[in-house]
């Protein structure tokens, strides 16, 4: 008898989801987490009177209570629906480049068409076909394509996934160019590129199109208590089902026997036997460090060579002594830039020498005042940044460097949202090094590997060299909240499925 039916390494979104799914499915599961709190990215912290959301800007995939979408069903299946409350955001985002454009997209397909038709009348007739494409691409990518592929017949793929075949792997810039002429309109529609961390010419259009449609149709959401509330709810569900959790207890080694998982050793030297391990740690760490015999992962390490390190972030958590109204903002999600050129914005993520050209100002108190003390606001101000930008910053220069870059980021935000600086009551600065510290990811990467076309699930083959070792998280699929919750639930589900087949 093994100590546990399954051990989950890491209590990030995918780890928690996998653990809850496994334990609720009847497998005795141990969840190991090196930090003192569940969530990975999905955490919050308290400074003074404020609680700061660490990472979640807009939760996708929930749908409304009347029209629930996939993530609501996934959360239902993990038993957390009664444990979490959500706040609907009524806008996708405001996109503001001073002197060029300042426009807000409402959270509905019709609303987007109306707003953009008015602002860009010359291209109004192309908006509906474009958003129709985003919709049908979403359906094909998630429903039709997996089924068609399972038939093994390329003709079925061609017939049932016409749009996915034509547009799925094209780059987003290319497709926007096909539909539209006005560069400003294209920039507005491509606003979400930052959520994937690469400029439009490198992103698969299916990812951008699906994201745009999904937020518009299923709404963006905030979580009461922040994403920490989701993490705590998932853990609660796991514990209620009888699961064991250890905090401040990192996994140190995955022990194998004859090429199959046999046990996990913790940082404190305890050894727990099991046949199934779900690793929510990065694939790099899992195969290169945790696995007792890295040579078992030969194929994976070859596969790594075709991947590139993903982006991290530079984030200011701001507690402001004023309301969103005082700041003149009515929308939670504000993309602020000094150029519509996404490539120029992305280029700044590679260096600390210049200044950010684009940022995201998320004000969580828009729509829910309870997220901050009365009359105050909670904001996350973020720009993309690669961990490599910090490679040559010496430890003794670290603090001064981060404060100097923080000033530049505030300067950029203030071009659209004035006097942010004057209202700061609490501020915490997080760099890619901070992400590295809390996520234990190479480069402090927040979405796993660089999410380019070559990383798209459609072109990747699944490599699983060690029997009983499963990866779940942004390093083995798409990054972000919805994808990682679903990845965890799906990995947990497939382990249960096999287990039940064996038992049955």
């Amino acid at each position: 008898m093994k100590d546990y039916d399954a051990i989950v390494i890491g209590a990030g979104n995918a780890g928690l989801s996998a653990a809850a799914t496994l334990q609720r499915g009847g497998m005795r599961t141990l969840l190991l987490e090196r930090h003192n709190i569940p969530g990975g990215c999905a955490t919050s912290f308290v400074r003074g009177d404020y609680e700061f959301e660490v990472a979640l800007h807009q939760l996708s995939g929930l749908g409304t209570e009347d029209q629930p979408a996939i993530l609501r069903h996934v959360f239902d299946s993990m038993g957390i629906s009664d444990k979490v409350d959500y706040v609907e955001e009524h806008h996708l985002y405001r996109y503001a480049v001073p002197g060029v454009i300042d426009i807000t997209l409402p959270a509905s397909v019709k609303g987007i068409i109306a707003v953009l038709s008015e602002a860009f009348p010359a291209e109004a007739d192309k908006l509906k076909p474009f958003l129709d494409l985003c919709e049908v691409l979403t359906l094909e990518a998630y429903l039709a394509y997996p089924r068609a592929k399972a038939t093994g017949d390329p003709e079925v793929i061609k017939k049932n996934c016409r749009n996915f075949v034509k547009y799925g792997l094209r780059n987003a810039k290319d497709v926007l160019d096909e539909f539209f002429d006005d560069p400003v309109l294209k920039a507005v529609l491509g606003g979400y590129w930052g959520y994937m961390g690469l400029p439009l010419k490198e992103l698969p259009f299916s990812d951008l199109g699906v994201m745009l449609y999904a937020y518009a149709a299923m709404k963006p959401w905030h979580v009461v208590g922040g994403s920490q509330a989701l993490s705590n709810a998932l853990l609660d569900s796991f514990l209620e089902a009888g699961g064991d959790v250890r905090f401040n207890c990192g996994a140190e080694q995955i022990t194998t026997d004859n090429g199959a998982v046999a046990a996990v050793r913790t940082e404190h030297g305890e050894i727990f036997t099991t046949n199934q391990v779900v690793s929510n740690a990065s694939s790099i760490l899992t195969y290169n460090q945790l696995l007792d015999r890295p040579e078992l992962a030969g194929d994976v390490r070859e596969d790594f060579k075709s991947r590139r390190m993903g982006v991290s972030g530079f984030v200011l958590y701001l507690g402001l002594d004023c309301t969103p109204k005082d700041l003149g903002i009515e929308v939670a999600t504000n993309f602020v830039a000094n150029t519509i050129d996404d490539e120029a914005q992305h280029a700044e993520a590679l260096t600390l020498d210049g200044a950010p050209k684009g940022c995201l100002f998320t004000c969580y108190t828009v729509g829910d005042e309870t997220l901050a003390p009365k009359g105050k606001s909670v904001v996350a101000l973020m720009c993309l940044q690669y961990g490599s930008a910090w490679d040559n910053v010496k430890p003794e220069d670290y603090a001064a460097t981060k404060f100097a870059y923080a000033e530049k980021l505030i300067d950029l935000a203030e071009t659209v949202i004035p006097s942010v600086r004057d209202h700061i009551e609490e501020i915490e600065v997080a760099t890619p090094m901070t992400m590295m510290r809390y996520l234990n990811t190479p480069g402090g990467a927040i979405y796993g590997f660089s999410q380019g076309i070559a990383e798209h699930g459609t072109v990747r083959d699944r490599v699983r060299p060690v029997h009983g070792l499963h990866l779940a998280g942004s390093w083995s699929g798409m990054g972000g909240f919805q994808p990682t919750y679903q990845a965890g639930a799906s990995v947990g589900g497939s382990i249960l499925c096999k287990q039940n087949k064996k038992a049955g």
């Binding site: 308290v46 430890p395 070559a454």
Partner: protein, 386 residues
């Protein structure tokens, strides 16, 4: 020849696969990344530092400075005002206490911790009287948000210090001097008696050498010969020596009673929450005097703590759960021991627990029964999850 991949019908599939092969030619297997991450994180935020007591300096009859040298050479950088949590074993109990670093951040070979003996204390008497040069200790990395933040603190700074609360202040002063920062710094330092004043000589020297520094010393229990300012730090004194306070940033670090009293005085002279930074200083001295403490429960009342699956022990309602757990031989990660950092977070499975205002709990931790054990009090028998 292998069969053509059915995914080739997707536009761009073959081209992307070819691109992957090209990427693989110039890519890497990231074999060294794990070690790089560990080294990088440890250089800024180590979980533990191995230290040796390299010197002990008598500051006053009740205070001494422990010079701690890193066993692995250069220590991680810190911001003047930050603390480390010092792990020690006293009377067989593994415990820890946080102390502000009093040395300058520019000193990378050691951290100085200035410790005052608290009468009836558990750890401080041992540190002041028991610790020997050459002893091995360990600490957390530098932590905390009590430091001069250049983004919004401005250039007109006032520090109210009481007792060993002067430790972070002198680090700030040394840092400002070393970096020639364009700020004004006014230290108002209260002590009970003249021979309780810590860093008297260093402060006088810094005062003479640094144009940016103004030093006001106050003695609350002066002897007859004392000529300087006497009494407590109050609104009148603050206004007199600082003038208009509205645009100044104030740091406050002293014993709990002083922190509470001075915070009120500062409000009276127009210092807003936004401009006031109070260093946390341990659990409440008397939790039973706080609003929300259940009536009918005395501090000395016995309660039983059951640690899920690991046994149980007796403690008293007035003892913070973290201290009680440590005395009973359980290990819980911790750092600030003042309710803020959340490292000592535990889950209450059943029973009643009092969380004073020091407990900076996340909204959802409250909902699901997680508490910060350093400032949590079992007011009935409780069952907890470590």
């Amino acid at each position: 020849m292998t069969l053509k991949d059915i995914r080739s019908v997707i536009d761009g599939f073959d081209a992307t696969r070819a691109q992957m092969e090209n990427l693989a030619e110039t890519g890497q297997d990231f074999a060294n990344e794990g070690a790089r991450v560990q080294t990088r994180v440890a250089s800024l935020h180590p979980k533990r530092l191995a230290l040796t007591v390299s010197d002990l300096v008598e500051e006053t009859a009740t205070t001494r400075t422990l010079r701690l040298t890193g066993d692995a050479g250069t220590l991680p950088p810190f911001l003047a005002g930050q603390y480390v949590n010092l792990f020690v074993t006293v009377d067989g109990v593994e415990t820890a206490r946080p102390f502000a670093i009093s040395s300058a951040p520019q000193e990378r070979g050691h951290y100085d911790l200035t410790v005052r003996k608290i009468a009836g204390g558990f750890v401080s008497p041992w540190l002041v009287e028991g610790l020997q040069v050459g002893a091995k200790v360990s600490s957390s990395g530098p932590m905390g948000s009590f430091y001069v933040n250049p983004i919004h603190h401005g250039d007109d700074l006032v520090f109210l210090a009481g007792g060993s609360g002067v430790a972070p202040a002198i680090s700030m002063i040394r840092d400002i001097a070393a970096r020639r920062l364009p700020v004004k710094f006014h230290l108002i330092y209260g002590s009970r008696q003249t021979d309780d004043v810590i860093f008297q000589r260093e402060l006088s020297e810094l005062d003479a050498a640094c144009d940016f520094l103004t030093l006001t010393q106050v003695i609350s229990e002066p002897n007859d010969a004392f000529q300087g300012r006497t009494g407590f730090i109050d609104a009148a004194l603050i206004s007199e020596v600082c003038g208009e306070m509205a645009n100044k940033t104030v740091y406050l670090c002293g014993p709990p009673a002083m922190n509470a009293a001075c915070a009120k005085e500062l409000k009276d002279v127009g210092v807003t929450n936004k401009r006031l930074h109070i260093e946390a200083n341990g659990p409440p001295v008397d939790p039973t005097a706080r609003g929300g403490w259940p009536s009918g429960v005395a501090a000395h009342q016995n309660v039983t703590v059951t640690v899920n699956g690991k046994g149980s022990f007796e403690t008293t309602a007035g003892e913070p759960l973290l201290n009680a757990l440590e005395k009973a031989g359980y290990q819980v990660e911790n750092a600030c021991r003042s309710g803020e950092c959340s490292l000592c977070r535990i889950k209450i499975l059943s029973g009643d627990v009092f969380n004073p205002s020091e407990a900076k709990l996340r909204q959802s931790d409250r909902r699901f029964g997680w508490v910060h054990s350093c400032v949590a009090y079992a007011t009935s028998d409780v069952e907890i999850l470590l």
